[in-house]
Amino acid sequence: MIDSLDQIFVSLKHWLVGLTPEAWQPLVSILVSIVPIMALFGTCFAATTIFERKILGRAQNRLGPNRVRAFGVKTFGLLQPIADGIKMLTKEDIVPFAADKVVHFLAPVVLTTPAWMLFSVIPLGRNMAAIDLDAGILFFFAVGSASELAVFMAGWSSKNKYSLVGSMRAIAQMISYEVPLVLSTIPVLMLAGTLSPSQVVEAQGVGTGFFAHWFVFTPWGLSGFVVFLIAATAESNRSPFDLPEAESEIIAGFLTEYSGFKYALFFLGEYIGLFAVAGMAVTLFLGGWQAPCKALEFIPSYLWFFGKFAVLIVFFIWVRATLPRLRLDQLLALAWRFLVPLALINLVVAALWHFMGSWQFIAAMPVRWGICAMLVVLPFVWFARLLNGGKVAPRKYRYAE
């Protein structure tokens, strides 16, 4: 019973595919995988836009959007995405006279398509990865880096100084943060011994013990998770790393010359990229669709995945509501002088953790934990101080006179 509920979508897909003639089955199988993913994450996108604005509003002691009505019925703003969508679709699509029109047109497509492709390798539940690639994580990062190209296409083709500045910031930021993002996943791959997302999730299962072995519950996993989250925020151009779109500085960055549906596509692509990277964070560190302990395994695996996914999204929104934007040099210093060294040290910590796992003496476990935790915390404190110019005292501000 529990198993059938857990596998309900998988069985449904097999049944649907089985209805069609043999020759069509590969195509139908692909379609049946793609359509639910696009519908689901499309809905997630719509829901996130409204809930993000609601949460941001509440975090600033405002109400947020609450006025959309449907046929005279109050909806408390829940239909805001529909209103926004209609607005976006009916707006004039302006292409600058001097723009490179083909590239200008292609940029939103190039951003959105790879963003959707990222979901193909993320296991949304037990046996619920659209494609179970052996090198799925490699595929994820390879395809994910295509968004940089799209951003630069948008900035270059617009023939606008703000667009160009925005896209150059974006390139600097995204390439810098790609390094810690990938470096922070390597320990996971090392200890799981695979590049397949499904097997990474399997490795974090409850197994024979009582609690699940999520990687975030280890010193190297926690460190990697934090680095991954920071890098993921920067990769998806979200506050506090929203320099490419900094409204107060460069209008809308590479989006300046986009309007109407192309703008909506960019918006969609960014959120889809955020969802994908949040899904990958869940897969790599938070145990994917695994329940945290044996007693909770009766809850279907896809609900576990989406619960963790929703928590991460809310956390991203919460961070956006809290932190101000970084300066460009601070941003790059954070990547190269803080996150990259931490991620590199984390490789050593993960290796130590792995080899200390075979120790057999009495206090092996606490010693293993102590050494690894120290190797995580001390570099963190040390590099944080270096980041602040080696000073421990609070920074003193001097103002122009």
Binding site: R58, A59, R62
Partner: protein, 246 residues
């Protein structure tokens, strides 16, 4: 340590998030079209014409002197004088406007018309929901749309209206006293004339001389002068002379 400030900030926004659901007083925004903030006395938008009493046309204070029309910097006021006169609050016959238009799409809300008006008849309003679907007709307000009662003025600018009302009541009292004094003087003169009827031409001439100042010299000093001096109106902004050197 790096990150503590971030955690403090997250706690603060988290507290705001939860608190705004449980303590409505935390919310700083007003749900505008349904609710309004209490009006501010110093607020000003467009001018309106003040009238006394019930009838807006009979009680209109405006005398069509066109000072405001002349002084208006963007020239948004248009006045045509009526041929028929009407009595003002002191009973004196005054001109009245036949047409009084203000183009509120041109008006810049400076309040100079209010500064220059000697009759306290034009004041700044506080209405701000003035949008219309017509760019030209709906933005041109006519006399009938511009008139508002003195009671309304008392509501939006209580202190100023009280002072003006007191000054005008004072004027009325003075005028009445003057009229009464004149009447007394006239009556006395008449009585003297009657009693001195037989006393000869010289005496009559003398009595008529005492009566003459009373009739030919009514208190013609414009009543609102007193009010405008006692009213704390905002001083007209002096144009600053731009210095040649930056």
């Amino acid at each position: 340590m790096l990150g503590l400030g971030i955690i403090k900030g997250l706690v603060e926004t988290g507290r705001n998030f939860v608190g705004s659901y449980f303590k409505p007083e935390r919310l700083v925004t007003i749900q505008y079209p349904e609710k309004h903030l209490p009006p501010v006395e110093a607020a000003r938008t467009i001018p309106f014409l003040v009238y006394d009493g019930k009838d807006s046309m009979k009680g209109l204070r405006c005398t069509a002197c066109t000072i405001c029309e002349t002084e208006c910097p963007p020239k948004c006021i248009y006045i045509v004088k009526d041929t028929v006169k009407k009595p003002d609050y002191l009973g004196k016959m005054q001109n009245q406007p036949k047409v009084f238009d203000i183009d509120i799409s041109v008006c810049m809300g400076c309040g100079i018309c209010v500064e220059v008006c000697p009759f306290e008849s034009i004041k700044m309003d506080q209405v701000f929901e003035l949008s219309g679907s017509d760019r030209f007709g709906a933005m041109l307000l006519h006399k009938a749309q511009l008139v508002k009662s003195n009671d309304y003025f008392g509501e939006i600018c209580h202190e100023q209206a009280t002072q003006i009302n007191a000054a005008r009541a004072d004027d009325v009292r003075k005028a009445e006293a003057k009229a009464k004094a004149d009447a007394d003087a006239k009556a006395k003169a008449a009585a003297v004339a009657v009693s001195n009827a037989a006393a000869g031409v010289a005496a009559v001439a003398a009595s008529s001389m005492t009566a003459t100042p009373g009739t030919t010299q009514p208190d013609s000093k414009p009543a609102p002068k007193a009010a405008s001096t006692s009213t704390p109106l905002p001083a007209p902004s002096k144009p600053t002379v731009p210095s040649a050197t930056p």
